[in-house]
């Protein structure tokens, strides 16, 4: 596999090289060159990723894990060694392809999108840094490496979301994104430290092949409470999941994701499709065997996922900002993936349909969500606003975009034969097989909602009469550099399901995972029909409301005369407000104020008192020195008496 190894080096080095070259040397001086370098190098890395993938899946070695290369980063004591390496297994290879491919597309797209921007070079540099760190995360061989690139992903997202740093909204959004994810990461780090302390290693291979039995003995002192090492592991697993919780913006740490829309659209698309947010799901998928042994962690994951899924979908139905709708749909889809992973746990035994389904959904979702964002971007680029009010009637003006949009939306709504159908169907199946019937119901409901709001977006954006002067005046056209990636992405959005299904069912199967044995799972051949049926109905409702000849679009759009419930939903259940209240009042106003007060009043106060006291003593000495001779003479006499009595002389 020697040339595969070199190729695999290429996969990482190209984006890194792009970052270095563009960031340090080309920069903003020559935007064209920067763009060319970015596209070329990312192209190479994508190409090599695909080749590696082909070799891997073609070889009979296929579904096993392999470590292509591994370096010692920091040696701690004993087995506790932080390594940097490249792990190859179906999951990581799949992610490699997705990430490199998507980032290539986004890079091409950005040529068009960022054309007028001052800092194009910086943009391309950061974009490549982003994909580089995601790649590093994907192929991590151990928790430590995962965390390293995890943080890098966080910071590069911060830099990209706040790319337009002169916009206050963008800056605060990026800050919020970074700090929220950082908050989650602190727990992640704690989890890593705890688990590595109990297990004595960072390696996935070790952690994933654990069994709970040997950890029943012995306890860990967690400061306030003493817990058995087994419980410590479970706690650790929850903490680690918390990292994913924040990165994947699960409820209630979801609020940074919609606000992150302040960044340039290509950034949003790459964040939402391939990098960043799926990292959380990927983390859980990667550590799946570990989670399976850790008590009810998976159940927790499932509920978090399920709730986020419904919650986001409901909000998405009311939004008018096109990017925000997509953002909430992403949240909802991520909910699907999490849920699927969580649903694998059936009391003590584990089915892995969900695992397959979830990874499969990561795969398909990447393509159609990316293309959707790119489409939204090109729409915005034309009408210069995110608001659905101003769109409409773009079908004629942008036919290619229109087609691609239709494909992607059908895909996300899970209409066969589009890619979304297969993965989502599997997820619903997993929920059913997992005998979590409530969740099962929720997934069906959400798939309906998804179809509804996606088609709402679709109809409002493309159908009906133009509501924008620019569109009316016909200034709208399709930018080539922006349309090509959309068109290219439409293909996998259409086909990746059919192609992928076979692949996934062959390679992403349970024997390869070290999981306790499983039971025969209930088949449900009727499921697809139900799901599709619901989707079709939802689609019809959307059509009635927003596209049918007698639909009252104006009334559908204006925010006034709404029920209070609608307002609550429209304002995202006031979560941003709560967040700011907590941060401002509690953190800055509360703890910080108290801390500073403690220092300024108590510490400085004591110091000041000490100084004051010393000076008072000094004054005492000086007042004695009044120049009064009899007093001086007195001191002589008194001195003798003092030392007579206190002089410690054995008199």
């Amino acid at each position: 596999m020697i040339n595969d190894i070199t190729l695999s080096y290429l996969i990482f080095l190209c984006p890194l090289l792009t970052f270095v070259v563009n960031g340090l040397f080309v920069g903003n001086k020559n935007a064209k060159a920067a763009a060319v370098i970015a596209v070329a190098l990312n192209g190479i890395s994508a190409l090599s990723a695909i080749i590696v993938a082909f070799h891997y899946f073609a070889s009979d070695y296929a579904p096993q894990k392999a470590v292509l290369f591994e370096y010692t980063f920091i040696p701690f004591a004993g087995d506790l060694v932080a390594k940097i390496g490249m792990l190859v297994d179906p999951l990581s290879v799949m992610m490699l392809v997705v990430v490199t491919f998507i980032s290539l597309m986004v890079n091409i797209y950005s040529i068009g999108y960022m054309r007028e921007d001052r800092a194009e070079g910086r943009f391309f540099a950061l974009l490549s840094l982003f994909s580089f760190s995601m790649l590093g995360l994907v192929v991590a061989t151990n928790l430590f490496q995962m965390f390293i690139f995890w943080e890098l992903v966080g910071v590069s997202s911060y830099l990209l979301i706040g790319f337009w740093y002169h916009k206050n909204s963008a800056v605060s959004a990026s800050k919020q994104a970074f700090i929220l994810t950082r908050f989650a990461d602190s727990f992640f780090l704690l989890g890593i430290v705890l688990v590595s302390y109990v297990v004595g290693s960072f390696d996935f291979s070790t952690i994933n092949s654990l069994s709970m039995a040997p950890f029943k003995a012995g306890t860990v002192n967690m400061g306030l409470l003493e817990m058995s090492r087994a419980n410590a592991l479970i706690l650790g697993s929850v903490l680690i999941f918390t990292g994913g919780w924040g990165k994947s913006a699960m409820f209630p740490m979801h609020i940074w994701l919609p606000n992150a829309m302040e960044g340039p659209t290509p950034v949003s698309s790459i964040i939402h499709s391939a990098t960043m947010v799926v990292a959380g799901v990927y983390l859980v998928a990667r550590l799946f065997p570990f989670f399976t042994i850790c008590g009810d962690t998976l159940t927790l994951i499932m509920w978090v996922g399920a709730f986020t899924m419904v919650f986001a979908a409901v909000i998405a139905c009311t939004q008018k900002d096109i990017k925000r709708i997509l953002a909430y749909s992403t949240l909802s889809q991520l909910g699907y993936m999490m849920l699927a992973l969580g649903a694998c746990k059936i009391h003590m035994i584990v089915a892995t349909t969900g695992w397959t389904a979830s990874t499969f959904h990561i795969f398909t979702h990447a393509f159609f969500k990316c293309s959707l964002f790119l489409i939204a971007g090109s729409l915005i680029h034309q009408v210069h606003t995110n608001d659905l009010d101003a769109m409409g009637g773009l079908r004629k003006k942008m036919p290619v975009t229109y087609i691609c949009a239709l494909i992607s939306i059908l895909a996300i709504s899970g209409i066969p034969p589009f890619s979304g159908f297969f993965s989502k169907d599997e997820i619903i199946l997993a929920a059913f097989q997992g005998r979590h019937y409530v969740v099962f119901g929720l997934t069906l409901l959400t798939s309906g909602l998804t179809t509804f709001y996606m088609f709402r977006l679709f109809f409002l954006a493309f159908h009906g009469e133009p509501r924008h002067e620019g569109v009316k005046a016909g200034h709208v056209h399709e930018d080539l550099a922006m349309t090509i990636p959309i068109a290219v992405l439409a293909i996998p959005a259409l086909a990746s399901g059919i192609v992928g299904k076979k692949l996934f069912e062959e390679y992403f199967v349970i024997e390869k995972l070290h999981v306790p044995q499983l039971l025969k799972l209930a088949e449900a051949p009727w499921l697809p029909f139900v799901a599709v049926g619901i989707a079709v109905i939802a689609c019809a409702i959307a059509w009635l409301l927003y596209a049918s000849p007698k639909a009252k679009i104006q009334r559908a759009l204006d925010a006034t005369n709404r029920t209070s419930l609608y307002k609550v939903v429209y304002n995202k259940f006031y979560f941003d407000e709560m967040y700011y209240a907590v941060v401002r009042q509690f953190i800055f106003g509360g703890v910080a104020r108290v801390a500073r007060g403690f220092h300024d009043i108590v510490v400085e106060g004591l110091l000041a008192f000490a100084v004051w006291f010393t000076h008072k003593l000094g004054d005492l000495v000086r007042t004695a020195q009044a120049g009064y001779l009899p007093f001086y003479l007195g001191t002589l006499i008194v001195g003798v008496l003092i030392w007579r009595f206190f002089g410690q002389l054995p008199l």
Binding site: T614, H615, L617, G618, D619, L620, V621, R622, A624, Q625, G627, L629, F631, Y632, L633, T635, L636, V638, G639, V640, I642, W643, R644, F646, G647, Q648, L649, P650, L651
Partner: protein, 480 residues
């Protein structure tokens, strides 16, 4: 041969004794503006200092002349300290007297002045070479009485005479205490000779002895400005002319501490253990009070008074140690202290030429004349005991000697007091370096002598500590 040797050894002492008569005598035979007495004075002092350096150290018990005049290593080294102090004091006073400073009128009679200094020095010499109480007492008096005169030197100066009055009244009381101490010691031992007293003390103690110790320490506490006998010092230091203050702060302190060393490691050596707590108490209270008093001073000489009170406290710490260490430490410290102190006083003298000797008149010094400002900073940091300046090593010797017998508490206390000391030395440095001058600065004029002396002393302060020769030689002198 041995007698001849002895003769050689006391040549410097004899010269020192004759010296003032010569100088003053010559002064009588020539008009008051001739340079002759001054030249002779210079020559004489330096000659004596050089001669002293020919006396070999490491000479065991020291050599006795007529049974009560001993010349041992401690004596020789103390002589050198005293001579250095005398020479520097003479040079300091020369320029100072050209025109009286700090609002004081001009002074003449430099020859008599030098003579007085010489007498004081000889008193110190007597103290260190005494072998019985009588010589001891006489030495002390010879060292003290000229000081009274020097303080009141400037007849036209009101403050000077007031200071002198306070000084002499309290001084006589202290003398009375000492005499009482001596008398009880004599009564206890039945003899005046140190060796016999030592035997008597070793034989056994009695309240009479402790009474003697109490009175002796209280009496010398006055000269050494120990708590609470220091009260005269600030007033006298401020009232006296600057050169006199300098001589007071070095020569008379050196004499006093020499007195204690001779006493504690001579007659009282057997009971050093018992009086250690007393010494520690004296040291601790003194340095604390001295530091406290100096905190908020605004007049330079008064400030130096308090600082020297604190220094006395530090010196006392060394008395807790064994003889060798203590003597090394004290001699070394006195060298360093003399150098640093005189450096400071030279600077004050120059300031005093043109302005009042207050903190305020130091302002803008660093801008106007960086050299002097640096010298001032060096001397202050040295007095504060900041390495690598000599003052630190001096203090280190003292604490080392104190700690060697396990008195960590007092050492720790003294060391922590250094912070307090550093604070007020920084105050002074602040006014020289940081504060902006208010209004016009009168230009400072340095004579060649002053410049060269200041440079020499600054260099000395910087290198004495770091280069081991001084410390090593003194030490080598003692561990025979």
């Amino acid at each position: 041969m041995s007698s001849l040797l002895n003769m050689n050894i006391i040549i410097p002492d004899v010269l020192l004794l004759l010296f003032p008569f010569i100088v003053i005598g010559i002064r009588l035979f020539c008009d008051f503006r001739s340079k002759l007495p001054w030249r002779i004075a210079n020559f004489g002092f330096i000659a004596i200092f050089v001669l002293l350096n020919f006396i070999p150290l490491a000479s065991g018990e020291g050599r006795f002349l007529i049974s009560n005049w001993k010349v041992d290593d401690f004596g020789v080294l103390m002589r050198e300290v005293l001579m250095i102090s005398a020479i520097l004091g003479m040079w300091l006073s020369k320029d100072y007297f050209e025109h009286g400073a700090d609002g004081k009128p001009q002074m003449h009679q430099i020859a008599e002045f030098i003579g007085a200094i010489a007498f004081a020095t000889f008193g110190g010499v007597t103290v260190v070479s005494a072998c019985d109480l009588l010589t001891f007492f006489l030495g002390l008096e010879i060292a003290t009485i000229p000081m009274y005169a020097l303080t009141a030197w400037n007849k036209k100066d009101q403050l000077g005479s007031e200071a002198a009055t306070k000084y002499i009244l309290m001084g006589s009381v202290a003398t009375a205490f000492e005499l009482f101490g001596f008398s009880y010691l004599y009564g206890f031992a039945g003899s005046l000779h140190f060796s016999e007293i030592q035997q008597a003390v070793a034989a056994g103690t009695s309240p009479l002895l402790w009474l003697a110790v109490l009175f002796l320490f209280c009496g010398i506490g006055f000269k050494l400005t120990l708590f609470p006998f220091y009260t005269w010092a600030p007033d006298v230091y401020e009232g006296a002319p600057t050169p006199v203050t300098a001589v007071l702060s070095v020569t008379s302190k050196a004499t006093a501490i020499a007195f204690l060393v001779v006493l504690v490691f001579g007659p009282l050596a057997p009971v050093q253990e018992q009086i250690a707590p007393f010494i520690a108490l004296l040291a601790g209270t003194t340095l604390f009070v001295g530091n406290l008093g100096a905190l908020k001073q605004s007049r330079l000489r008064r400030f130096m008074a308090y600082s020297s009170i604190a220094q006395a406290g530090y010196i006392m710490v060394a008395l807790l140690g064994p003889a060798t260490m203590a003597k090394t430490a004290i001699i070394y410290y006195l060298f360093v202290y003399a150098v640093s102190n005189y450096l400071a006083f030279f600077v004050f003298g120059i300031i005093g030429h043109h302005r009042e000797e207050t903190f305020a008149s130091l302002r803008g010094l660093s801008k106007q004349n960086p050299g002097i400002a640096i010298a001032l900073a060096i001397s202050m940091f040295s007095l504060a005991g900041i390495p690598p300046l000599a003052g630190f090593f001096g203090k280190f010797h003292l604490f080392f000697s104190g700690a060697s017998t396990g008195h960590y508490a007092i050492v720790a206390f003294a060391v922590l007091n250094n912070v307090l000391a550093l604070f007020y030395y920084l105050q002074l440095i602040k006014s020289a370096w940081v504060d902006e001058p208010d209004g016009h600065l009168t230009p400072l004029r340095l004579t060649k002598r002053q410049r060269s002396v200041i440079i020499t002393l600054s260099i000395a302060v910087v290198i004495i500590g770091v280069l081991p020769f001084l410390s090593n030689n003194i030490f080598a002198g003692f561990n025979y």
